[in-house]
């Protein structure tokens, strides 16, 4: 997945699109991550100043949500569902195997709503059902 390098100017331009929104902080953080792939440290102060919030408010939101990350992602992102329905068809074992092979880019997730065709894995935003290591490798390229 392609992201732009962090730039304060771009960030401010994006924040301006949320000027009319009520309760914009989470949306702002999500917007930063969508553009840059992560939420740069500098964004906390930018968002706080832009929406007249405290840095603590923004930091609190940033650290609450599992989706938000503060370091740039790698070239690929693999999320493996390890919730009950996928556990029932071997997700725990699959997660171990995939983690061993793609250590830096694999994370656990809880449910993609594909619970009848598990194990379910999201590779770079694409959903894979009845996932195997081979299918994940194919989707990753």
């Amino acid at each position: 997945m392609k992201y732009s390098p962090f730039s304060q100017e771009v960030a401010l331009g994006l924040l301006a699109t949320l000027r009319e929104e009520k309760g914009p902080v989470l949306m702002a953080l999500q917007l930063m991550q969508r553009e840059f792939g992560y939420v740069d440290k500098a964004c906390v102060e930018l968002i706080a100043n832009f929406f007249n919030k405290s840095r603590a408010d923004v930091h609190g939101v940033l650290t609450f949500y599992h989706d938000l990350r503060t370091t740039p992602p790698g070239d690929h992102q693999i999320s493996i569902c390890v919730a009950e329905a996928c556990q029932a068809v071997g997700a725990r074992e699959l997660s171990k195997v995939v983690r061993t092979k793609f250590t830096d880019e694999t994370s656990d997730a809880y449910c993609f709503g594909n619970c009848a065709l598990g194990p379910s894995v999201m590779v770079d935003g694409k959903i894979i059902g009845r996932a195997t290591l081979a299918k994940i490798e194919r989707a990753r390229t």
């Binding site: 009520k22 309760g23 914009p24 902080v25 989470l26 949306m27 702002a28 953080l29 999500q30 408010d57 609190g60 939101v61 609450f64 949500y65 599992h66 989706d67 938000l68 569902c81 919730a83 009950e84 329905a85 996928c86 556990q87 029932a88 068809v89 997730a109 809880y110 449910c111 993609f112 709503g113 594909n114 619970c115 009848a116 065709l117 598990g118 379910s120 999201m122 935003g125 694409k126 959903i127 894979i128 059902g129 009845r130």
Partner: protein, 507 residues
């Protein structure tokens, strides 16, 4: 010539896009309609061909099968090993009672013409003829209860919000379908998003709200894209906007995307999240219907609750409540998941047994090993053994059996499952997802996982089991919301229904 290839993300996960591309490559003159999924997910990718006598189904189709389908003249219903005959005569589907899911899998989700041709907007037009009081009475009369899991009567919630006076009211649709084993909200949004939009518009008219918000989880990128397109289409027609179908009513809908937090499916945590804050639950009262989003009266309903309202208005409350048992009226969209041979959506009236769902529809386990346990109602729901399979699937019977219906998902496990490990996972999940407000949930969940670990290792088993039950009681009684309050349900039900897994001896 029209061929239907589903665009539902479950179908996409097993190659529906590749199947559609393979068909187009061989004959580019075919009109390929990307419908939702009919819900027979083990048959995906289910390809249908429109013929003068009805739609003919072929399934499960892989891209490699496509050439042979053409060779067999599938466009005219030719014989092929994957042919299932007429779609409407597939018993798994035809024996269901599709009300909420009536159009899902049938139509192009983003065709407003197809939507209207299949009964769309009839409910909304009816609603516009009624007074607010009559409209809410109709919803109350239908017996519709909250499908998100709390089962609160929808009409009563609406009445409370309607009676509140405020310059602004909100309709919030809870589409934060985080329970493992549930996917009905996602499939409805991907397969028939206009129904949800219609239900929200009706709710807005009923209580005098002009703004709707759908809180949709980030794990559902396909649903987000489809719903946004549907909202845009409805906005460009005379439906959403300052004059709903030419009347003086005004209604708009915005999507707010979640950020990977399970507890934000709890209604007050969801409100906090929509307000852009940490998803920390609020104490009730005040009820959201009185003081909800941004402090304004707010109706919060699940996707299925709102999406059922148009059908109730179109067909009448009496027709809806003629289905079901006791105080569980109408239909439930059950979801068969996990280690299941024939998984997917089964919409039936309340009162079907676990056995009928899991064995008659589900066909037992995928692995063909003996079925040992089912978890009903998501990660906070109870684990049942096969001894309890004659239990009726309705709100009251499941509570009496020590469980809950939740959002109607059933996860099937074969005999390799270790219920002590599952119980430990329930506690671990709570530790990961707790918002942290209530101590029993925030800390108890970690202590619970540790205690179950000791039981698994055979350390002072009886003493630790007693301690665990005591902890469960504290979590149940001392937590504000269902996260901490119901995490003990899977734990205790596993201990009660599968005692042999809690003896400390390795399974």
């Amino acid at each position: 010539m029209r061929v239907f290839v589903p665009c539902d993300s479950a179908a996409l996960s097993v190659g529906a896009d590749e199947v559609a591309a393979a068909i187009a490559r061989i004959d580019s003159t075919i009109e390929i309609v990307r419908n939702g999924s009919r819900g027979a997910l083990w048959l995906e990718t289910l390809v249908e061909v429109e013929t003068p006598t009805g739609r003919i189904a072929f399934a499960p189709v892989t891209p490699e099968d496509v050439q042979s389908l053409f060779d067999a003249d599938f466009l005219h219903g030719g014989a092929h090993p994957l042919s299932l005959g007429k779609s409407d005569e597939i018993e798994w589907l035809s024996s269901q009672d599709r009300v909420t899911f009536a159009r899902v899998g049938i139509i192009d989700p983003l065709s407003l013409d197809a939507y209207c041709a299949h009964g769309g907007l009839v409910g909304l037009r009816k609603a516009l003829e009624l007074s607010s009081d009559e409209l809410i009475s109709e919803v109350t009369e239908s017996g519709l209860r909250g499908r998100g899991g709390a089962a609160f009567p929808a009409g009563i919630k609406w009445r409370t919000a309607a009676q509140a006076t405020s310059d602004q009211k909100y309709i919030c649709c809870n589409a934060d379908e985080g329970d493992s084993g549930t996917f009905a909200d996602r499939m409805l949004i991907e397969g028939d998003p206009f129904t949800l939009i219609e239900g929200m518009t009706i709710a807005g008219i009923a209580v005098g709200a002009t703004k709707g918000i759908v809180y949709l989880r980030s794990e559902y990128p396909y649903a987000i894209a489809t719903l946004q397109k549907a909202i845009d289409i409805a906005g460009k027609s005379d439906w959403l906007g300052s004059s709903v179908l030419g009347t003086t009513h005004s209604f708009d809908i915005q999507i707010r995307v979640g950020a990977g937090s399970y507890v934000c499916g709890e209604e007050t945590a969801m409100l906090e999240s929509i307000e852009g804050k940490r998803g920390v639950v609020r104490a009730k009262p005040p009820l959201p219907a009185v003081e909800g989003l941004f402090g304004k009266p707010t109706i919060i309903n699940n996707v299925l609750t709102l999406a059922t309202v148009p059908m109730i208005l179109a067909q009448g409350a009496a027709a809806y409540k003629a289905r079901g048992v006791g105080r569980s009226l109408g239909t439930q969209v059950f979801q068969l998941a996990g280690n299941i041979a024939r998984g997917g959506i089964v919409e039936k009236a309340f009162g079907i047994t676990i056995n009928e769902l899991v064995n008659t529809y589900g066909g037992g386990t995928l692995t063909k090993r003996p079925l040992r346990a089912v978890q009903i109602g998501g990660p906070l729901g109870a684990y049942f053994s096969i001894d309890q399979f004659e239990t009726s699937m309705d709100y009251e019977s499941l509570i009496a059996a020590g469980g809950m219906l939740g959002h109607g998902g059933i996860v099937i496990f074969d005999d390799t499952v270790d219920l002590a490990v599952q119980a430990k996972f329930a506690m671990e999940f709570c530790a990961i997802e707790s918002c942290g407000k209530c101590t029993p949930c925030r800390i108890g969940s970690t202590r619970g996982a540790e205690t179950i670990d000791l039981i698994i290792q055979g350390v002072r088993v009886d003493e630790n089991k007693k301690l665990l039950l005591d902890l469960c009681e504290v979590m149940t009684d001392g937590s504000l919301c269902a996260m901490g309050g119901l995490t003990p349900m899977p734990v205790k039900s596993a201990m009660i229904n599968f005692p042999s897994d809690f003896t400390g001896a390795a399974r």
